[in-house]
């Protein structure tokens, strides 16, 4: 029975399923090819280290230039990977309920199915699982590509490519798809559903990011800056603060209120500048927390969609 439900659901949405599977396959293939090419350039770890300091010896120049040429090829793949959750989420989530209501097939389905919730689950669960599986694979491919672009980084302890690789691609796609399901249940029109859920879904993802940033600011490590400070690209930079003599950290705006004369000096305020960072080794915790929030919000939108479906008219 489950196989039958999954097969029929995929048949109904074969255009959407085909489109995201093809797009994902292209991205995965592209990531693998570019990663393989980068790995075969022969840029030694020593050259990589020296490239980061800007003191590249002549023996590294050829390999480094080749490496950079291939990196430029990776840009479209990275861009499409970044857009993948939006494209896939809307393409999968938009039609599930909205198109059925628009085309009137809900009249048939809801008159055959005593439980609309069952109908909803039959449509949503296979598509959501497919979406999560495909976008998770794209996220893993993006991990692979990021590692090839930054070979010295340990990606499990690095914020390089944060939100554009790994499990977060899958949860973003899920959240956007769930938004489209909820909006579609409410409006029952495909085009308004795409537009509204694009706006609402993006707003939700951005809001999650902003709220998470507020939480992270409380958890941040303070790093004092001087001319010898070298920031690690593995850390997540959050913000700058000025350190008062009593140890308090304040923003520029707060400092203006506290000490308006601090800005009278032509060299700017004479307080030490500090950076607020999340160390790279906290990456997994931060990633998991954000993914969990997106997952929960996605489920909330799905529950909302199911609630509307059980109460609305079929057309």
């Amino acid at each position: 029975m489950i196989r039958r439900i999954v097969r029929l659901t995929f048949r109904m949405h074969r255009f959407e399923v085909g489109a995201i599977v093809i797009l994902a396959a292209l991205l995965i293939l592209g990531s693998i090819i570019v990663s393989w090419a980068l790995a075969n350039v022969g840029l030694s770890p020593e050259c990589q280290r020296l490239a980061e300091t800007g003191e590249l010896p002549d023996s590294c120049v050829v390999a480094f230039e080749t490496f950079n040429k291939i990196v430029s090829l990776a840009s479209p793949i990275s861009l499409l990977t970044t857009l993948f959750p939006i494209i896939a989420g809307l393409l999968i989530g938009g039609p599930i309920v909205a198109r059925e209501i628009e085309r009137g097939t809900t009249s048939l389905a809801w008159s055959l199915s005593p439980s609309r919730l069952r109908w909803f689950l039959h449509r949503v669960v296979p598509m959501a699982l497919l979406l999560v599986a495909v976008s998770f694979t794209v996220g893993a491919a993006a991990d692979h590509l990021t590692h090839a672009l930054s070979p010295r980084a340990d990606l499990s302890a690095s914020f390089i490519g944060f939100r554009f690789r790994g499990v977060l691609l899958a949860t973003q796609a899920f959240l956007l798809a769930s938004t489209a399901v909820g909006v579609g249940a409410l409006f029952g029109r495909a085009v308004p559903t795409f537009l509204l859920s694009l706006i609402l879904g993006m707003l939700t993802i951005v809001s999650v990011g902003l709220l998470h940033r507020q939480i992270l600011l409380d958890e941040a490590v303070v790093q004092r800056q001087d001319e010898n400070t070298v920031f690690s690209s593995d850390d997540l930079y959050l913000d700058n603060r000025l350190e008062l003599p009593d140890g308090r950290l304040v923003t520029y705006e707060e400092l203006i209120r506290i000490d308006p004369r601090a800005f009278e000096s032509e060299f700017g305020p004479q307080y030490p500048n500090v950076s607020l960072l999340i160390p790279g080794d906290r990456y997994r915790i931060v990633e998991t927390r954000e993914a969990a929030v997106e997952l929960v919000l996605g489920l909330v939108f799905l529950v909302g969609g199911a609630f509307v479906v059980t109460r609305r008219r079929p057309t």
Binding site: M1, R11, G104, S107, L108, S111, P114, H122
Partner: protein
């Protein structure tokens, strides 16, 4: 007579629009094939959708097989098979896949029976829904409704998009299935000639209310038409006057003691019959004309306390 579909003071009003139906009392007897006839906007679809739980009433209540379809929608859906007004098939699926889909939705769906009906109508099971004509899509919709083995069938203008032959085939399948299984069917339609062959009961809706509700046999036995020019308006039994295609005007007259009330004299053994027997179409048109006239009179009536 047990009624399986009932309306008690049922009213439905969509937001910002006039009442679609109001104060409707109706009872559809078990085992009957009842035709629901009325002009566009008379509330036929609203009523049918109300019985399957798709439209909550604004006032009054409906019942299907003794239950309130709003409170017990699952049971209402389980007890009914529904053919929607527009063919509502999934264009990406084949006919066979629609039958498969129905089995995933509904425990006890008789896929073999649905397949038999489809095959009997010569519709290929492997045909994609978007390759079927409107008539074939309606037939598939009927086969799916019959496959539910529900004892009550609600058919919302399924004949509208069908050519005459397809209509005949559709009704043949419907009548055979309903009569054979002792089911009850409610069929809304504009096509009165087909109704006469298939249905045993007639309900005419107009202006949001019931204009006529009696058996087809009684409707034919108790109505006659006379030339409007020879009939004094307001005489007992007058139902309504309507034009014909030949610029003639006819008046529908109720005769004898019909279930809808006393009519004009003229059909008793001692009396000369008046006019000629009305066709079912004339009965319907006459009552619709009367309903429209009543609506106009009501609209023209001054509302107390409101200056014109």
């Amino acid at each position: 007579m047990t009624a399986v579909l009932e309306a008690h003071g049922y009213g439905k009003r969509y937001r910002g629009r006039p009442w679609a139906l109001r104060g409707l009392d109706l009872a559809v007897p078990e085992g009957s094939i009842t035709a629901l006839v009325g002009p566009n906007g008379s509330g036929k679809s609203t009523l049918i959708r109300g019985w399957i739980g798709f439209e909550p009433p604004t006032e009054g209540r409906l019942s299907i097989a003794g239950i309130d379809p709003q409170r017990h929608r699952k049971t209402a859906v389980t007890r009914s098979g529904y053919v929607p007004q527009q063919p509502a098939l999934y264009r990406e699926l084949t006919v066979a896949e629609h039958i498969e889909l129905a089995t995933t939705f509904r425990a006890g769906f008789d896929a073999d029976l649905a397949r038999q009906y489809v095959e009997r109508l010569g519709i290929p099971l492997r045909a994609q829904a978007n390759q079927l004509s409107g008539g074939e899509q309606a037939q598939v919709g009927l086969a799916l409704a019959l496959g539910t083995r529900a004892r009550i069938l609600l058919l919302d203008e399924p004949l509208a998009s069908l050519d005459p032959l397809a209509r005949r085939e559709f009704l043949h399948v419907l009548v055979t299935a309903v009569r054979g299984e002792g089911h009850t069917a409610l069929l809304s339609s504009h096509v009165i000639t087909d109704i006469e062959q298939a249905c045993d009961r007639l309900v005419v809706l107009g202006r949001g209310r019931t204009l006529l509700d009696l058996s087809v046999a009684d409707a034919l036995a108790h109505h006659r038409v006379v030339e409007a020019a020879s009939w004094e308006p307001g005489r007992p039994g007058t139902v309504g006057t309507f034009p014909t295609t030949t610029d003639e005007r006819l008046t529908l007259v109720r005769v004898g003691a019909s279930p809808e009330g006393p009519g004009a004299l003229g059909t008793g053994p001692a009396a000369a019959p008046i006019g000629r027997p009305a066709t079912l179409e004339e009965v319907v048109i006459g009552h619709l004309a009367a309903g429209r006239r009543r609506g106009q009179l009501e609209a023209d009536e001054p509302v107390p306390g409101v200056a014109s």
